[in-house]
Amino acid sequence: MMNRRAFLKDGVAAFTISFAAPAFLSDLARAQGASSRNLVVLDLTGGNDGLSMLVPYTDSAYYSRRPTLAIPAGAVLQVGSDSSGKALGLHPKLTGLKDIFNQERLALIQRVGYENSSRSHFFGTDIWSTANPSNSAGNGWVGRYLATLPPPLDPLVAWNTTGDTPHALLSSTVSVASIPSVSGYAFNSPNSGSEATLERAAATSIASHVPVDKPHVAFVSTSVQAAMATLDRVAAVGSYKPTVAYPTNGFGQALQAIAGAMAKGTGTKVFWVQTGGYDTHASQDTNTDTGAYVRLMVTLNDGLTAFYNDLKNQGLLNQSLLLSFSEFGRRISENGSRGTDHGSASVMMAIGGSVHGGLFGTAPSLAADPQNPTLENNTQDVKFENDFRSVYAKVIDNWLGGDSVAVLGGNFKKSGLDFV
């Protein structure tokens, strides 16, 4: 967190005003291609236990090392074997994701991480955000990508469904709209009628003053400007009528807003959504309906299934790619609290109409042998096989049409990771 703050100090100083006048925004959005491709980044916060999501159900060590947390082989949703011949199955509650897998529109990328994985939530999140394990401060990888787009950028070029801007979206030059609730994204007034109109005009004028000698005030002014400039288009998203019922929880509602933004043609390039509770140190309970991990899987499955089907019905599936990540995976052996502690490599998911579905990478062998090359930390952790930056690189190059070497500051392209 210290690093993030240290960065922001510079970020504020460097913040430049790059908004177009509101009147031109709709044109700008169209020019940037309202029907072009978008990326939805899904952050599973807390450190997702990949071994409970994608289960190596024929590995005896999985059962011996997780006496209370292992999912019975008969319960998993089998998805075949990976290139190493390891049989794998999805968590029993991921029935909708299993359907998407069967449609070959879900890619499961195994053992993604980096060397000496941080076991700190905050440090780990910062590293996944900057895409730089040796420097967790600085702009985010998504923010750096957005900064390569030709200016001026529409304020809705990125749409964050959470309250504060995630580190991955931070940029010195691009402001991100944060829209935790579409209906709350409005300009209220203590007055009505023409007086309210006058007030809105006054607020817009007030926000247009950006004091150069007060960068902190300038920073907040730009936030007000972006808010005022996007009110009407976000309000239009509020009238979106989905083709399926989304879950009423925050995750489901955030996904519905994203689908609405796509359907209304906001021109957004990157959406950010997150769902939390993955820090399952104790009573993780992967098997009973009220269990903590089971409920996480239900939330994940129901939200993503509704989103997928809605986009499919709307004819929007081919222009969208969803990519999930978590700051780390969890330890292989369960702890004494029937939970799992902070680990390292885990599973990423890619979902979309253009995804080449299937299993990518190989599962670890969980046999507790110090010589086992798929494990680290005295066999406690899953050793990474695919650098997370290779996954980012594929998305940047093959999906967003960017230059991953420039955005990531190095060549992380890896053959074989052809999920999109």
Binding site: K9, G184, A203, H209, H216
Partner: protein
């Protein structure tokens, strides 16, 4: 406004939540150093604020049924906000907020384990009002707000809500649980980079047996307390990468199970007195009271860290030192600190007025601004500074200003009557009432807004323009700084 009054206003915004005009008047007879003394040595002022809840003349609360701040989370939040608005000990509430962010514990996980109302009790119950004299974590932080940090660490390590939040309740001999030991070093004391993974494993073993004696989750009068389970303590020696004892020894020697609780006390004693902890804490306090974005003056940090260590980890002298430092009193830092949502909400209530306003109205907006009390997003607390100011969160602030101004429109209009001679006079009245470093072009916009339409100065016009102006100022970028 005189320079002395400006400095006083600055002190009360930073060390408290701003001042109503009556509070400012009460302080204005004091010199600055006397004012700092009064703020810091608050124990001499009676703690009577809670007795005013529900009385006329104070901000209101809204609850379903009887107001029950020891057992209902939204009522607990309102009690705390009430204290922030009306306490005569503003630093106590401010430091409680600081510690709540520092030891960030989330009610939902606690409630998930002990159900409600016990979850709320463990977070917020006032011992004197609880059937089992259970003291909630917020009350613990409030009692020790400017006290000894080492003692606070021990108390927090044994706090039932913390034992649940960081899983200390499951830390046993056969399966040491890392969560608390890791965060103790990463977030509560030394910080990232000053401990190793092996230190985490050792710390987990140190705290084996520091468990929770659970109450009955279905009984709202049962007691939850810390217990040292000697038979769950792992007794072997634990070695760290940094000194534990004053002789430089890095090893906590093996102890008998019955004496093993001392392991944790030894580790906390060492961590509390470590220079890195002193610097980290000094930097955190600098961030909270001076700036979360500026690079602190290393001399000031060293000075604060030294004060902390020389006073045996007592916080009060550190704050006294900070508030009387030239860096704190520098007019260049006035109105430059990004206000946290609760700071913004409380200050706008104090300055706009509260007669007929209920704090219940502020709870949902606070969540939209990104700060739901008792529910920090994770163990590292809230993301501070500019990260509060996303577009959605900024709209939530503007809309709170709108709701407050609408609620206060008759009070504001009545107060503006002496200024009804011109639209500009009303602007001046509003800008004088709300403390803000307003750029001149913003002032001109306010004048233009107030002057739109023909000016009559009628009651109806005052009831429109006065709240409109309050809304515009409270929702302006400049007002988001303290």
């Amino acid at each position: 406004m005189a320079d002395g009054d400006r400095l006083l206003g600055h002190l009360l915004r930073r060390a408290g939540f701003g001042a109503s005009s009556a509070e400012l008047a009460a302080y204005s007879t004091l010199s600055y150093s006397q004012a700092v003394d009064r703020v810091v040595n608050y124990e001499q002022i009676p703690d009577t604020v809670d007795s005013n809840i529900g009385k006329p003349g104070f901000v209101g609360t809204t609850s379903r049924g009887a107001f029950s701040p020891n057992t209902v989370a939204d009522d607990a939040r309102q009690r705390w906000l009430f204290r922030m608005v009306h306490s005569d000990r503003p630093l106590q509430e401010k430091m409680t907020l600081f510690w709540h962010n520092y030891f960030a514990t989330g009610l939902s996980k606690v409630t998930g384990q002990v159900k409600n109302p016990n979850g709320t009790r463990l977070m917020a119950a006032k011992a004197s009002e609880d059937p089992a004299r259970q003291r909630g974590q917020i009350e613990l932080l409030r009692d020790g707000a400017v006290g000894n940090f080492r003692d606070l660490l021990v108390a927090v390590a044994q706090d039932p809500a913390m034992l649940i939040w960081l899983d200390g309740d499951t830390n046993t001999k056969s399966k040491p649980q890392e969560n608390f030991g890791r965060e103790l070093m990463e977030l509560f004391t030394r910080g990232v980079g000053f401990y190793t993974e092996d230190d985490v494993y050792a710390a987990a073993r140190v705290f084996t047996g520091w468990n929770l004696k659970p109450g009955d989750n279905n009984d709202s009068s049962s007691s939850y307390s810390f217990v040292y389970n000697a038979n769950q303590h792992e007794t072997s020696a634990k070695t760290f990468s940094f000194p534990i004892y004053s002789d430089g020894s890095r090893t906590i020697q093996a102890r008998s199970a019955s004496a093993g609780m001392q392991d944790g006390v030894d580790l906390i004693n060492a961590l509390a007195m470590h220079p890195e902890t002193a610097k980290r804490l000094a930097t955190k306090l600098y961030g909270f009271f001076v700036s979360e974005t500026a690079t602190p003056d290393p001399n000031l940090i060293n000075d604060l860290a030294t004060t902390y260590l020389q006073n045996g980890t007592v916080i009060k002298p550190v704050l006294q030192r900070l508030f009387t430092s030239p860096q704190f009193q520098d007019p260049a830092i006035f109105f430059t600190r990004y206000a946290w949502p609760v700071e913004f909400v409380v200050r706008s209530i104090k300055e706009t007025g509260w007669a007929g306003f209920s704090l219940g109205t502020s709870l949902s907006p606070l969540a939209s601004m990104g700060q739901e009390l008792l529910e920090p997003p994770d163990v590292a607390g809230w993301s501070l500074g500019p990260t509060w100011f996303s577009t959605g969160a900024m709209l939530a602030r503007m809309n709170f200003g709108s709701a407050l101004a609408a609620n206060q429109k008759f009070n504001l209009a009545a107060a503006a009557v002496p200024s009804r001679s011109s639209s500009r006079a009303v602007v001046d009245y509003v800008v004088g009432r709300l403390t803000v470093d307003l750029p001149s072009d913003v002032y001109n916009d306010l004048v233009a807004y107030a002057a739109s339409g023909s000016w009559t100065g009628s009651d109806a016009q005052l009831q429109t323009k006065a709240p409109g102006l309050v809304h515009l100022v409270v929702g302006s970028a400049a007002y988001q700084f303290v």
